[in-house]
């Protein structure tokens, strides 16, 4: 089988976060507009993971192999380490709203109010090398434990995992977009 070498991909992605509902550009040739913030450097790559669970139909007495399956769960995650240890990025990791204050506080109160969901955009190369591929995950929460190491011989990184949540029937959870 022939190989199209220009379809092979390698290289880092740019990670931006935004308010849920942030406007996506009409084409990938246009920069992301208001409502999106580039989180800056990352370390260890950015990984989009799409977990799918299919529950088999069967087997039954008369058929010994599954007759089919139904999709019964989907999980979407974006995982990376934020390399720029700013308070703005700590707020992103803690699902806190954008704030100009020079401190971050964490409360211990229980609440029934929705947390601060975030939209996430990964921007890397698309096959063909002619421009970017954007992955929009439209409603996420950063759900990982946030370890903040202070090391004499290592960088301080904020590990983040953005886990996706349902938006609506018409607005899909994830969009992988190669539009030029």
């Amino acid at each position: 089988m022939g190989v199209t070498v220009s379809n092979l991909l390698m290289g880092p992605a740019k990670l931006s976060t935004g308010v849920v509902g942030a406007t996506e550009s009409t084409s990938n040739a246009t920069a992301l507009g208001a409502g999106w913030t580039d989180v800056g450097g990352t370390e260890g790559g950015c990984t989009l993971t799409i977990d799918q669970t299919f529950t088999p139909l069967g087997p039954i007495d008369q058929i010994v192999i599954a007759a089919g399956a139904r999709r019964t769960a989907v999980g979407v995650k974006v995982k990376t380490n934020l390399a720029e240890a700013t308070l703005a990025n700590l707020r992103v990791a803690l699902n806190q709203a954008v704030n100009a204050a020079t401190f971050v506080e964490i409360d211990g109160d229980a609440s029934n109010v929705d947390p601060n969901y975030q939209a996430v955009c990964l921007e890397g190369m698309r096959p063909g090398g002619a421009g970017p591929r954007r992955v929009f995950v439209r409603r996420t929460l950063s759900t990982d434990s946030i370890g903040v190491p202070f090391l004499k011989d290592g960088m301080t990184l904020f590990p983040v995992t953005f886990e996706a949540y349902y938006v609506s029937s018409s607005i899909k959870v994830v969009r992988v977009d190669d539009t030029p």
Binding site: G18, V19, V20, G21, A22, T23, E24, S25, T26, G33, A34, G35, A97, V98, V113, D114, P115, N116, Y117, R138, V167, S168, S169, S170, I171
Partner: protein, 66 residues
């Protein structure tokens, strides 16, 4: 079932047809936007402006819970 045509801040150039339940959810999420703009650029700019205003609002405020 009655449906309504809406535009959202996410992809303002696309018109969606939604039922009443989804309409309510999109409204509470702050995704719906109404504009007099008719051009593609105008729609995009209006949506970004609304998004920018929402960036200064807490999620609870958006959903009318505080």
């Amino acid at each position: 079932m009655a449906t309504t045509k809406v535009r959202t801040t996410i992809r303002p150039l696309e018109e969606l047809e939604v039922g009443p339940e989804e309409y309510l959810d999109l409204q509470r999420l702050g995704f719906l936007f109404d504009t007099k703009a008719t051009t593609d650029d105008g729609l995009q700019t209006a949506a970004e402006k609304q998004t920018e205003q929402r960036s200064d609002t807490t999620p609870a405020e958006i959903e009318g819970k505080v």
